[in-house]
């Protein structure tokens, strides 16, 4: 069995300040982990993925995430938020096969 908990339903940051989105997971297997972003009225776009290689994963648009097995966490960060980062973000875990488990999502608001 596998599951994901996104610890914040909403995060608000000022433009130019760091962004931190927190994700904890549970999995019976060595998991693959993903972060997806969803802009309004759009589908989900892959930001980055962890697949048991380097624990620090770099993604698109300046985002990165760190896999910490001891803490069962996969937090997403960006050093400097941009207005275009306002969106909903989903942490996703994949175990055996192709089934994905999605977190409930974190809505990011960026203040000018």
């Amino acid at each position: 069995a596998q599951s994901v908990t996104q610890l914040d339903s909403h995060v608000s940051v000022s433009e130019g300040t760091p962004v931190l989105l927190r994700c904890n997971y549970s999995s019976s297997y060595s998991p693959s982990l993903f972060w997806y972003v969803q802009h309004p009225n759009k589908g989900l776009q892959l930001l980055l993925k962890y697949t048991s290689a380097a624990t620090l994963v770099k993604g698109i648009n300046g985002f990165e995430a760190e896999f910490k097995k001891s803490e069962t966490s996969f937090h997403l960060t960006k050093p400097s938020a941009h207005m275009s980062d306002a969106a909903e973000y989903f942490c996703v875990v994949s175990g055996m096969g192709y089934k994905l488990s999605f977190g409930a999502g974190t809505t990011v608001t960026v203040r000018a």
Partner: protein
């Protein structure tokens, strides 16, 4: 590069009506999926397919049917629409058999049942 294309983008149905949500992908992916997204709930898997002619139920299949006659197309059918089926529906596809293959999503179909 189109990727995953869903039609229609929006639809309003009356209770008891039926409709088919269309999904097509041009990436030659074997795996295709249908999800529904409800506010604050993430995405729930309705049905999936591992290749043409092969489909199986996901977490929330009741009230839906699918077929997969070609690699490209994976339509989702609602036979008797109910208000509980008001949601945003996403189709996705992926390649390979490993769990590390990311899924590619369409832009969604926003469906209201009144």
């Amino acid at each position: 590069n189109a990727g995953v294309t869903q039609t229609p983008k929006f639809r309003i149905l009356k209770i008891g009506q039926s409709m088919t949500l269309q999904c097509t992908q041009d990436m030659n992916h074997n795996y295709m999926y249908w999800y529904r997204q409800d506010p604050g709930m993430g995405l729930k898997l309705i049905y999936y397919s591992v290749g043409a002619g092969i489909t199986d139920k996901g977490e929330v299949p009741n009230g839906y049917n699918v077929s997969r006659s070609t690699t490209e197309d994976f339509p989702l059918r609602l036979e008797l629409a109910a208000p509980s089926q008001t949601s945003v529906y996403f189709c996705a596809s992926s390649s390979g058999t490993g769990s590390n293959q990311p899924q590619h999503f369409g832009d969604g179909t926003r469906l209201s049942i009144l």
